[in-house]
Amino acid sequence: MNDDKSHQGKTKTIKVDYLARVEGEGAMYLKIDDGILTDVQLKIFEPPRFFEGLLRGRKYSEAPDITARICGICPVAYQMSAVHAMENTFGITVDGQLRALRRLLYCGEWISSHTLHIYMLHAPDFLGYASAVHMAKDHPKIVERGLQLKKMGGSIMRLLGGREVHPINVRVGGFYRLPTPQELLAMVPELEQARQIALETVRWVKTFEFPHFEQDYTFVALQHPEEYPMNEGRIVSNKGLNISAAEFDEHFEEIHVQHSNALHCVMKNSEQAYHVGPMARYALNFQQLPADIQAESKQAGLGEVCNNPFQSIIVRSIEVLYACDEALRIINVYQEHSVQQQDDQKPDKPFIPFQPKAATGFAVTEAPRGLLYHRYDVDNKGDILDCDIIPPTSQNQKMIEDDLWKFVPQYLSLSDEKLQWHAEQAIRNYDPCISCATHFLKLEVDRS
């Protein structure tokens, strides 16, 4: 981080050229006049990447692999939203063990992405370290534990996705290759160990000191009648919204703000911010968590709804614990299914056949950072005519700014250095992925 502090007349400015420990490149600007916060801008300067333009004219089958390139941290989310949207376009449903294996792949990404943020990016904020490297000097065993847990997520992604980063084994209708039951069974001992580490993680992060900052959020997440949501469900909010993915455009809109290369997604008409991600999922789906994980959440100090974004690190750790549990459950069921079919190799075909047709398809899945919306218009040859991709960080950008508007005034009496620390921590609560949002941070505080 490069700090440049200058005083020009009555204006006091703090510039941080690059905000550390967020994914991507961006900046933040705070203006303080006579001790009053007068401007907050989350500036995304990573250039636009025009993926939607790149997809036009491409085959439907290319969408999962091209969109996976949008992010090296959450490629599975892009693949899942892409294949579900295409399957919605062509009127097909992937269910049974193929559906379960997709959920297992998503478990791998949740474990890997959440663990990276918990241990390497967010925990140093709470423990007073500038980075995970500094934290590792005092807490080597803890950091090694985080690396081990992240590795588990990577192992799942490698087996199901063909490789850990930018996986290539997902296709419209299913997979290119299915894992054997033996390959899945071989992961069980490591997954059981990962579950224990995930439990230790929950019990570790709950000991952190959290600022008092409860907000009345509009949480938006998927909700499914039978499971904690990953790939499927209705888009619901705690303020009465209940829509399908096809209705997303009717209720949300992207608006351009001058200070950001990423569009802000807001509630249509009101232009109000809303909150997506682990806290929204948790608040709207607590009842779908297993009883022992619900109990662990309560022992960690959470209610059935968590309204303090600084406690999002606990919620993420709960979701990692759940993802380990769910992965073990899916593997167990896959084994049983295999035995019943008396086929020790592949209980199902890797994909279901279909014919492309001209139509428009929609899907929303739960990326680690929240809702990821895809829409595709496809012609009868399967060529993509138009598409729209709205990642979770675009949806959370205005929410982050809103949090800063409310949080920063509590700390205006602090030194610029401490104010900066708290403001950056407030941003990292959302695990923002700027690289996704530009499909974003340097800090600038202007005091006068």
Binding site: E23, G24, A132, V143
Partner: protein
């Protein structure tokens, strides 16, 4: 060989890691050079069987946890990556990572918060660096979305290939 293929590897002495993204212009350099080194060490006329048994070459995306994991058990690791430090395009950089950290301006052309420099420093703190770890970088010219190296990078990569093969040959003496 892809990194994934090393999961069940046996102990080997030298690991060459080509880091990059084949779809981001000059960022592909590490991957392409790994290909060329693989071909060269497979050439039995130039390298004997003993050597090919003591060297592994992988392509890697630079994901830190996996990176730290993949060089465990090796006595030497050589990291090859395109860099964007502000030097003239095509400039070849060499850094002994046992002696010094990867400077900020030599970080991989990546926007991710936890990258190669962090992986090396974390491994240093956790005593997970191999005894010898070298970084070779070439200053990139263009990191836009395409699959072609710039002419400047192609020329520099040819020179770096010779340097790395020279090191690999020297390693043979200690194999």
């Amino acid at each position: 060989m892809k990194a994934d293929a090393l999961v069940n590897r046996t102990l080997s002495r030298t690991l060459i890691i080509g880091i990059g993204n084949r779809y981001r212009g000059d960022d592909a350099m590490g991957c392409l050079l790994a290909d060329e080194i693989s071909k060269a060490v497979s050439d039995k006329q130039k390298f004997n069987e003993q050597l090919t048994n003591t060297i592994d070459i992988i392509e890697h995306d630079g994901e830190p946890a996996a990176l730290i994991d993949c060089w465990q058990g090796y006595t030497t690791a050589i990291l090859i990556d395109a860099v964007s430090s502000g030097a003239a395009a095509g400039t070849i950089h060499h850094i002994d990572l046992q002696a010094q950290a990867l400077p900020d301006q030599f970080r991989s052309y990546s926007t991710h918060a936890f990258g190669i420099a962090e992986a090396v420093e974390l491994a240093r703190v956790l005593n997970k660096l191999p005894p010898r770890i070298l970084f070779y970088g070439i200053e990139g010219e263009s990191f836009t979305a395409n699959t072609e190296l710039s002419g400047t990078l192609k020329r520099a990569a040819t020179l770096l290939l010779q340097q790395i093969l020279y090191i690999v040959n020297a390693e043979k003496k200690y194999a």
